[in-house]
Symmetry: C2
Subunit: 500 residues, 2 copies
């Protein structure tokens, strides 16, 4: 049943492009008329940018997906975006919206030769209200720069992730990025208050309200959160920032066995309550790789001896002495228990240590990419099964004879326990069809057996369109197609992504 | 321009019903076949329920809207809902989904003789996971009963509101209810994780995932949150509950002048940080009415002397002694300031006092309904303008000669400062066309001048369809219509609500 559906999808994927047109010289001429010269990069005349200058736009962060776009447009205003999209709509030219290009599912680069519409030149803060904490910004603002912007007002962004130095708020919204603060500040579906979007026919949808509450009809903006650029181009974002915690602290805990993770989570949640802001899981392999590649401060040999996995706990609260007391009581309680859930815990003693403990966790992504080519599965499964999922995958690869230095070097897991979100990474020497075939649908079937999600936070992009049926029913997928058809009947917005 | 649009709308409102059919005896016969006898109430044969037994279903909570439905269906399962909807779809019979019927915009009762589909018989909890806090429940579960259900597991519902004893979780989701915990736990767009919905053609959409994170395509469930039953019938809800705070406390503050509200909010936010869970505004008139009708514990005469308004502050946190210290420090800081922002503050000393302070705020709705007939405007405007909006409205009614015992008795305001959400209430002896004409579009124009929302949390229902253009652009409204058309091409789901 499923395979028949998959076959039908492959056909329709080719069909997606059959009614679309490539960019021509005359289109580029038009773009040079409506945009300033520095906003048009194209290998076509009259611009003739050297090919290699387009490489970074055509290649994704993992170096796994490569497009062949001839033309990158970098508009400076919403009106310019609207003009571009209108033209492309009329000429049936496909568009890939691109933010910081840090996406991990190949959604931000062309499948073929789509125009790349980069938001990089739209990076102004439009307004910030320090009383309500509501920030309104261009979609192209880099997450880190927004964090810096609100810091003097004692506010923080409600999301944080390893890619913060490059990813853009528009890209975050388009992928519904989760990241490291979700446990505390919730998802973007809650914290994004309004959006400005250029629809696939060029119309500007202004829902850029800066109201915390507005129940006037269907909440259309929600559809663009996580739509990965397939329903329109986000040009502005209104988002609720949070008051900055006065004090943050963290501790890394070494656990003798994975079985202690869930009981530990319960205990920590109860004792730290509202100041618990992260509870991150790192398995031994992930930890070792992070250390090997110089990501973060290694614990002492003694500390890590006999540890099967690690948990990074972060607190953030309004008063340092209260938070420290809670954290100290927790550690005491943990270490003095009859059957301790942890071997040891190392508490950050100063801001530098705080950062380097975080770097251990945040640096896993980086370390993995230095170690080899990674197959990344970002899945939702019950937290209690994290280890089992990693082990089963490793065993499976071993049984296929693929677990060795020339094929798969490591299978590891890390992620957000509070959210049931496991990052399963398979680090290989190179991307090969054998490994791919061994992993899929194998991994997706494991996920489906747990009624999990094949994409907890990274999205579907180009990488997982075929895997959608493992997490969504036929009724849901059919309805998604209707929504796509309603917004983008010509299919010009990021074709082949999310839905084939 | 606007008035021309409004005229067009009135015409289209009549058109909404022109293709729809009333329930007939033969439909009722069919319903008795697919449902158990106690699930069908109808004045038609073969059931012949006495007319007055249908009154409570036909009349809204305010006694302002009255439908003429002949038939109320109370299915017990999702499949039964699906069967009903399929039949109505085929026969083009309009349906009003009804939860606890506590809605305040006339959305839950028929405009004409639509079938009322009550969820009251679907009230089972389907599952609860105390580790993740995820609760899955039938849509007909009453909010209070869910609160009670999760309490022994040390969890609380992420929302709370005055109507909790009657309103249903499905109704809460359908109205995107805000309420008293929004400041702390965010909106339902963030905390609702999944929905099961019977679509207007009877198909069951199963998006009842119990995953905290799932980025696999468009987040369709979001469209039903706040759709007020116009896109389908919600039959099941998966929602993230929060760990119960170990300690809650509250204090009522009397302010000499409204001007101090925003500065006070800033101070309180900074000092209480993550334990601040409510910051509620009550103006003097609202306070007096609550006291008059025995809602909550009155402060002493001395305490209220010279108070222009009141603020109720609630804290909830993980450790009583820490919270008490923070609250005590705040009060000290406030009272000892050179120019104090408050006259006085009364701290709850025990659970009974805690409840009766809350009753002052929660009881305003009740008190208003005892005092007379209320015109209720639930608007988003900047917190700094709350008083001005109330005063301007009162002055306007006075200038029209409508401010007296026989017309408008009181104009008052209360609401959620943190959310910029003001409940503007005009309490009249009776609903009259003169008062109505004096209030609208007057109030909506004030809202529009602040770029606010004409419905912060109660929704649009039947009451505010004509006011939508004050808060939403034409592009937005046109897109909403397309969504409605996509989901419900025959227009059978709650016709005339949200969109005319
Ligand atoms: C080191 C590292 C760590 C990461 N950690 C996390 C993590 O913890 N949690 C997490 O969720 N993700 C994580 N990611 C993935 C990625 O960073 C996020 O998904 C990020 O939000 C993408 O933002 P971007 O601006 O780079 O978007 P891009 O990569 O440029 O685009 C992503 C998708 O959104 C679309 N898009 C981008 N901008 C717009 C726009 N303005 N309008 C419409 N569509 C648009 C693109 O077409 C594409 O489909 C990580 C990535 C890296 C490299
Ligand atoms: C005393 C009092 C205090 C209140 N306080 C607040 C408050 O603080 N914040 C706030 O936001 N609201 C408040 N309200 C308004 C109201 O209680 C809420 O909107 C509530 O969420 C409605 O739930 P209900 O089950 O009574 O829905 P109903 O009144 O029965 O229905 C409301 C709307 O939702 C639709 N609907 C109901 N159930 C379903 C379903 N299962 N599927 C599809 N559509 C459905 C109906 O068709 C209707 O359009 C208050 C009301 C009262 C009477």
């Amino acid at each position: 049943m499923l395979s028949r559906r998959l076959f039908a999808r492959c056909l329709s994927s080719r069909r997606v492009f059959s009614t679309l047109n490539p960019v021509t010289d005359s289109d580029v001429t038009h773009f040079t008329r409506i945009l300033s010269p520095s906003s048009v990069l194209s290998t076509l005349s009259p611009v003739s940018t050297p090919h290699d200058e387009l490489d970074i736009y055509n290649t994704d962060w993992m170096g796994k997906y490569r497009g062949k776009s001839t033309t990158v447009l970098k508009p400076k205003t919403t009106e310019e975006v609207s003009e571009i999209v209108k033209w492309c709509h009329d000429k049936r030219i496909p568009i890939v919206p691109q933010g910081g290009n840090t996406g991990l599912v190949g959604g931000s680069v062309p499948l073929k030769d789509e125009v790349i519409l980069s938001l990089a030149n739209m990076s102004n803060v439009r307004s910030f209200d320090p009383v309500s904490g509501i920030l309104v910004a261009d979609a192209g603002c880099i997450l880190q720069s927004l964090t810096d912007y609100v810091a003097p007002y004692d506010h923080i962004m409600p999301l944080d992730l390893g890619a913060k130095g490059s990813c853009q708020i528009g890209g975050n919204v388009s992928t519904n990025a989760g990241g490291l603060r979700l446990l505390r500040y919730g998802s973007l579906h809650g914290s994004v208050l309004g959006l400005e979007v250029v629809l696939p026919n060029g119309t500007i949808l202004d829902q850029l309200t800066s109201l915390r509450k507005d129940n006037t009809g269907y909440d259309l903006k929600q559809l663009f959160i996580g739509a990965e650029g397939t329903l329109g181009v986000i040009t502005g974002v209104s988002i609720l920032t949070a008051p900055a915690p006065q004090a943050s602290n963290n501790v890394i805990l070494a656990l003798p066995t994975f079985d202690n993770v869930v009981p530990l989570f319960k205990t920590v949640k109860r004792q730290l309550s509202e100041i618990l802001s992260a509870f991150e899981f790192i398995d031994r392999t992930a930890y070792n790789l992070a250390v090997k590649h110089g990501q973060g401060r290694a614990l002492s040999d003694e500390d890590v001896e006999g540890a099967e996995c690690f948990i990074l706990v972060e607190t953030s609260g309004g008063r340092r002495e209260h938070d420290e007391e809670k954290l100290a009581d927790l550690l005491e309680h943990l270490l003095e228990a009859d059957k301790p859930l942890i071997n040891t815990g190392v508490l950050a003693q100063n801001p530098a240590q705080f950062s380097s403990l975080w770097a251990l966790r945040e640096g896993v992504t980086e370390a993995v990419s230095k170690e080899g080519k990674a197959y990344k599965y970002d899945i939702s499964v019950p937290a209690a099964t994290f280890k089992q999922v990693v082990d089963t995958t490793r065993d499976h690869l071993r049984s296929k004879g693929l677990l060795n230095e020339d094929a798969v070097k490591h299978v590891l897991g890390y992620g957000h326990v509070g959210d049931g979100n496991l990052h399963l990474n398979i680090v290989a020497k190179a991307y090969t069809p054998e490994i791919q075939a061994a992993l899929e649908p194998f991994v997706y079937e494991i996920v489906a057996s747990h009624r999990g999600s094949v994409s907890a936070e990274h999205g579907i992009g180009a990488m997982k369109t075929h895997a959608l049926p493992y997490s969504k029913t036929e009724v849901s997928i059919a309805l998604m197609r209707k929504i796509k058809e309603l917004f983008d009947p010509r299919g010009i917005m990021n074709p082949g992504k999310v839905l084939e």
